[in-house]
Symmetry: C3
Subunit: 168 residues, 3 copies
Amino acid sequence: MSLLNEAGPVRFLRNVEVGEDVSFYGFVNAYGCSLGAGTKVGPFVEIQKNVRIGARCKISSHSFLCEGVELEDEVFVGHGVMFVNDKYPRATNEDGSLQGGADWQVSPTRVCRRASIGSGATILCGVEIGAGSLVGAGAVVTRNVPPGVVVAGNPARVIRKLSEPAQA
Amino acid sequence: MSLLNEAGPVRFLRNVEVGEDVSFYGFVNAYGCSLGAGTKVGPFVEIQKNVRIGARCKISSHSFLCEGVELEDEVFVGHGVMFVNDKYPRATNEDGSLQGGADWQVSPTRVCRRASIGSGATILCGVEIGAGSLVGAGAVVTRNVPPGVVVAGNPARVIRKLSEPAQA
Amino acid sequence: MSLLNEAGPVRFLRNVEVGEDVSFYGFVNAYGCSLGAGTKVGPFVEIQKNVRIGARCKISSHSFLCEGVELEDEVFVGHGVMFVNDKYPRATNEDGSLQGGADWQVSPTRVCRRASIGSGATILCGVEIGAGSLVGAGAVVTRNVPPGVVVAGNPARVIRKLSEPAQA
């Protein structure tokens, strides 16, 4: 692994730990995260601190990965996918002061090996998406997804099993 | 308040009126809007003209605030939130000419004090979101949201009252 | 038509074929696509290779147009609209190697003349959106949309006919 620091006109990378052949497109903002060998990150993506991304993943344009997200190897994240780490987000505390990192608890999310998340999906916090499963485009995932299934809708429900084995 | 004008490689700010300690991340496009003291704006955000944002708000990455949007103080806007100001958007007029600012009516939207809008939500135009209410991640808000409730789904419906008072 | 090549700090345009008076905002990534006269593209937009966009269209901020998308003339694409071209996206092949362009089939999508796609909508692959139709904000379009109607919801369903003729 090597440690990237880059502040340039087209992307910001700070303390980003990368395996071999990790690539970032322009217009990326990433900090304090790690990405395994071969993973590719598209434009207009933000990856926050303490995000861990496995090897050979694809993170497509316009997606947001917040603190608390862990992707195992070979995960596909479509375009415009939003992860969440706080069930009751607020701008301020009850005394009106702006919330900082110490004012909320990160609720973690794990996406297991070879799962794919369709474009435009929203993934609520505290869930696990099972190995090889497919989250349909535009779905809103509010609870755990078992391995080897397709989920879709808002809230997302299992619509069928995948005939393809999960390869996990 | 002071008036910012900045055209640089990583963000565009034109005629942006700001209170003290307003901060913008990189990759922001904002023009002709005002933001109250302490408000923070994340990356990949666009804020259009005539948007008024109160004090101590957080506008998270990938969100779009169109003309006609007003946020009161201490509002949280999650990641990838889209506001709308035109119920029947068209690229062109009936004569085939491109629509300009004079060719549609802005339908305003107000988000009241201490409300929070979850990531991936879409807020249709002409609605008011009540004080302290929480719009669930991925929700599509098509009508007014009363104060002190949680809404979710597409279209968004009240799923429960918040036990926490709205602090309004 | 003329051929643009531009690599700069605020946008990337490579082999973009444009008619007269096509305009791009900053923070755009576009390559190998064509856009007809008068079309406007907002910030934080990605347009992939082999996308064909007609004349006098508006492509609003935060939208993603993938290979396989064709927009006829005078189409409106709202903010944060995600198109899809692969029904079963995967990061890797079954042997664990990263997927490349040869490893999937592009499933095309056509948006017919004067149709409008609302903000936050997700358009699955292999569909046609009929002339003059309106896709509601936040809708997830999973099948063909006939001309002259309004669709909304997840999955999107026809909610009514448009009294305005489709002008097609």
